[in-house]
């Protein structure tokens, strides 16, 4: 069984796309439709990589990313952001949260902006998981 990739995105089409790319490259996909569900699955499934959207109902990717990176148990799981939001905007919101009194969090391993070519997504995942 291949390494586990958790896909967090509220758009079923995006999940289907990402699941297919993950499967086609020999990994095992796990799905979550929002940030809250994402956090549950991270804790339960201990994935090797998280593929994370930013704008989602319930908990957003911005919050989930913070929770992952400030948790001792989870902070070493690599995170790839895949979002329609520009990287700049995402980093700015993280900076604002840090200034608001949070811990400083590192930048994500890779930041991809939608739309992404299947090839690029596959190379990114392979690059991290080997």
């Amino acid at each position: 069984m291949g390494k586990k990739v958790l896909i967090v995105d509220d758009d079923p089409d995006v999940r289907l796309f990402n699941v297919t790319v993950v499967e086609e490259n020999g990994y095992t996909p796990i799905e979550a439709a929002n940030g809250e569900e994402g956090l549950e699955k991270v804790k339960k499934e201990k994935p090797d990589l998280v593929l994370l959207d930013v704008l989602m109902p319930k908990q957003s990717g911005i919050r989930l990313y913070r929770e992952l990176k400030t948790s001792k148990a989870l902070k070493d799981i690599p995170v790839v952001i895949l979002s329609g939001i520009a990287k700049r905007t995402f980093l700015r919101s993280q900076k604002a949260l840090t200034e608001f009194g949070g811990e400083e969090v590192p930048e994500p391993e890779v930041y991809l902006e939608k739309p992404v070519e299947p090839e690029e997504l596959a190379q990114t995942i392979k690059g991290i998981l080997g």
Binding site: D11, D13, E24, P115
Partner: protein, 508 residues
């Protein structure tokens, strides 16, 4: 009691000695003279309060002394000493202003009474004098105060930013401050005592004054325009009052605030808000389109894999994905078009109930698939009205599908989810539509962002334009839209639309 000084005048030395002794014994200060002439000299030198003079003296007699003393100081008390039975002289003396007279031989009691009376008169006069002085002082202070206040008020009126125009009881302008000069373009001297209120103010404002003539009441602020000297129409806020005293008109006063600057700022604000909205719209649209593009890529990727591996399932899934995203693209474009286009409502005779029923028929399948009941409660008294049926249809479609989505998104699976569309007549010319769901409801935060572009709680599913479009349609129709929502309880949207009466619509 102050020690009174008495001047005693008598040509008989014995009398003077005896009387002065007894007066000193009574506590008076006594000065004496032995003739009328000497008496006057002493009077001038000593300024006694009371003069006691014998009437019959060689040289200047007592009556002459009395006359001259009264000329010198009318308030001096003069008591005349007359011979026994000399009533005529006594009366004459009183006519000259003597305080009293006593007969010779002088009895102590009579003298005491007479002096007491004189003292009392002196006291009263002193008090009166003090009181008068006090009064004068008070008048002076009050006058100063009034002066100060009126100065202050004059300055206040002069330095007020508001234009202040006041008239007398015949509507002639008497006050015209620099604020008014700025607004109306006239100088004070061109207006004051030359202009009537009718020459300066528009007729609707004058009417308010004349109507308000019955009672002293401020008109409250209203917006109007006045015509300045150069003919320019100036937008102003106006408030005025007819001033009355004891039911009689004293005059009137009007306050004007120049709205030119505010109007200019408002225009600028609207302009910059529009620019900001354009920026937001572009950013929101970009995000929406990125998601759709991602869907297309995903779809074509799946189709590719399906073709490569001859996997019909993947091929079908991929093709459906492409189709869904075509649908999303066309929805976005439609929403954008109806949001960006300015349009006038197209009024036609139609039945609000039929529109509501049609919307429910169209969405019933989706509702049933998701286990949501879709009901109508339609007011049969509405009948046919004149309104823009297409706009209302579009708005209701948006609200009802929102309601269904709110039920789908609700986590409480024990609820029997339901969306109800209600119609009702409110008075003669308003129709109310309500769309109520018992779905997930909204937090205040969501409610506050409800009508902003590209805000969506539906994640990738929503364009974030639906409610914006709905509101625009309703506002173009001069209607209102309100929302009431509790998290976990559900949401009600209420639309109120002014509609033309059918008869009018048919006749027109």
């Amino acid at each position: 009691m102050a020690q009174e000084k008495i001047l005693l005048i008598d040509d008989e030395e014995v009398n003077v000695r005896v009387l002065s002794m007894s007066l000193r014994a009574d506590g008076y200060e006594v000065v004496t003279a032995y003739s009328g002439e000497e008496g006057l000299e002493v009077f001038d030198r000593e300024s006694p309060d009371i003069v006691l003079t014998d009437i019959k003296m060689p040289g200047m007699d007592g009556l002459e002394v009395l006359r001259r003393i009264k000329q010198r100081r009318p308030e001096a008390e003069v008591i005349i000493i007359t011979g026994h039975g000399d009533i005529e002289s006594a009366i004459e003396a009183l006519q000259y202003g003597a305080s009293d007279f006593i007969n010779k031989p002088i009895r102590d009691e009579a003298l005491a009474i007479s002096l007491k009376r004189a003292r009392e008169k002196l006291d009263i006069r002193r008090q009166l004098k003090a009181y008068t002085e006090d009064l004068e002082n008070m008048v002076r202070i009050a006058t100063e105060e009034v002066h100060r206040k009126s100065n202050f008020q004059a300055k206040l009126i002069r330095s007020s930013n508001d234009g202040i125009v006041a008239t007398d009881d015949e509507w002639k302008i008497v006050i015209f401050n620099p604020g008014a000069e700025k607004i109306f373009g006239y100088k004070k001297h061109e207006v004051v005592r030359k202009f009537d209120i009718h020459d300066l103010l528009p007729s609707d404002v004058v009417r308010i004054f004349e109507d308000g003539n019955g009672e002293q009441k401020e008109s409250g602020w209203m917006e109007t325009t006045v015509t300045a000297k150069g003919g320019e129409e100036i937008p102003v806020r106006f408030s005025g009052a007819v001033l009355k005293e004891k039911g009689k008109m004293m005059g009137s006063v009007a306050f004007f605030q120049d709205l030119r600057e505010i109007k200019r700022l408002q225009r600028e604000l609207i302009h910059s808000e529009r620019l900001a909205a354009v920026g937001q719209t572009v950013a929101g649209m970009a995000h929406c389109i990125k998601n759709i593009l991602h869907g297309f890529k995903g779809g074509s990727y799946l189709v590719d894999i399906g073709l490569d591996k001859n996997d019909m399932d993947k091929l079908k899934t991929g093709w459906k994905m492409v189709q869904r995203n075509i649908e999303r693209t066309s929805e976005l474009v439609l929403d954008l078009l109806s949001y960006s286009k300015e349009r006038e409502p197209e009024f036609q005779i139609c039945s609000p109930n039929e529109i509501a029923a049609d919307v429910c028929d169209l969405l019933r399948e989706t509702a049933t698939e998701n286990k949501v009941e879709l009901d109508t409660e339609l007011d049969p008294s509405i009948g046919m009205v004149s309104m823009d049926g297409k706009s209302v249809h579009r708005a209701l479609m948006n609200l009802v599908s929102n309601g269904i989505d709110a039920c789908i998104m609700d986590e409480d699976l024990t609820k029997r989810h339901r969306v109800t569309v209600t119609t009702a007549r409110e008075g003669d010319d308003v129709v109310r539509f309500q769309v109520t769901d018992n779905g997930c409801g909204m937090t205040d935060e969501v409610k506050s962002k409800l009508f902003t572009s590209f805000f969506s709680t539906k994640g990738a599913k929503g364009t974030g334009l639906g409610l914006l479009v709905t509101r625009k349609l309703i506002e173009e129709h001069k209607g209102t839209i309100e929302v009431d929502s509790e998290p976990g309880q559900g949401t009600t949207f209420t639309i109120r639309l002014p509609v033309g009466k059918t008869e009018e619509a048919q006749n027109g």
